[in-house]
Symmetry: C2
Subunit: 118 residues, 2 copies
DNA sequence: TGAATATATGAGCAGATATTCATATATATA
DNA sequence: TATATATATGAATATCTGCTCATATATTCA
């Protein structure tokens, strides 16, 4: 089958349907952003952190204890969650307490849990 | 900070809260499955395929045309979507038509889109 | 000021993943 | 049967990602 580097040049295409579906697609940028958002909750460590924080504000070492993981691993993931504005923090002395900003994400997680049950 | 390989041994832990949150966590296996599910929709190619198929049943080369990607790339991703039971297919001669099994996943995608708009 | 604690972060590594290329398989048709 | 088409798939590669280790930073307290 001949194809160039940019697109496919195959001959079985149903042009009408392709055109129709193409016009209803979102932009590449929108799809990319969407995938980036889901990427955040596609790692079980991050899901655990978000889930734990949905119950209570927690410091880094509490999270490390709950997840049975090293402090630095937790810190690295918290940075990602902070950068994507899913969590916020407040400092109390040398202890840093993290909490959820975005409860929307918990809805998504819950939907995933429901889905898994089916 | 001293830590062993299995867990953290730091001293700032709020035992009561840790115990409380710990008991409300899901199992590691559940978190893992959850992350696996979100992993499927954390790739923009797969999201595009699912989105396109939510509009209409499509063959592989139509998908390749719509996404402007090579046929083999689409086939590889379709296999993943097939293995995770998100899509099904029917053959009509040498053409293979794919369609959605799981409309639930589209709800998740839509929630993501809504979220992005906020 | 010095020591201890709590967290953050850079470098490096190991494992995962998406795409491409080449090719195999399956079907239709001349 | 031979050829062309449609799809599937294995291997190779490049990129990404999460964790660990070591260390830096910040804060508290003696």
């Amino acid at each position: 089958m001949k194809q160039n580097n940019d697109a496919c040049e195959i001959f079985c295409i149903n042009e009408k349907i392709v055109k129709e579906v193409k016009s209803s697609m979102l932009s590449d940028e929108e799809f990319f952003k969407l995938s980036e958002n889901f990427k955040i909750i596609s790692d079980s460590t991050r899901i655990k952190i978000l889930y734990a924080l949905s119950k209570k504000e927690l410091c880094v070492c509490d999270l490390a204890t709950i997840l049975k993981m090293k402090q630095s691993a937790i810190s690295h993931q918290l940075r990602i969650l902070k950068d994507t504005r899913l969590v916020k923090f407040r400092k109390e002395g040398k202890i840093v307490y993290y909490s959820l900003i975005d409860k929307h994400v918990i809805k998504l997680l819950d939907m995933g849990v429901e889905h898994a049950k089916e």
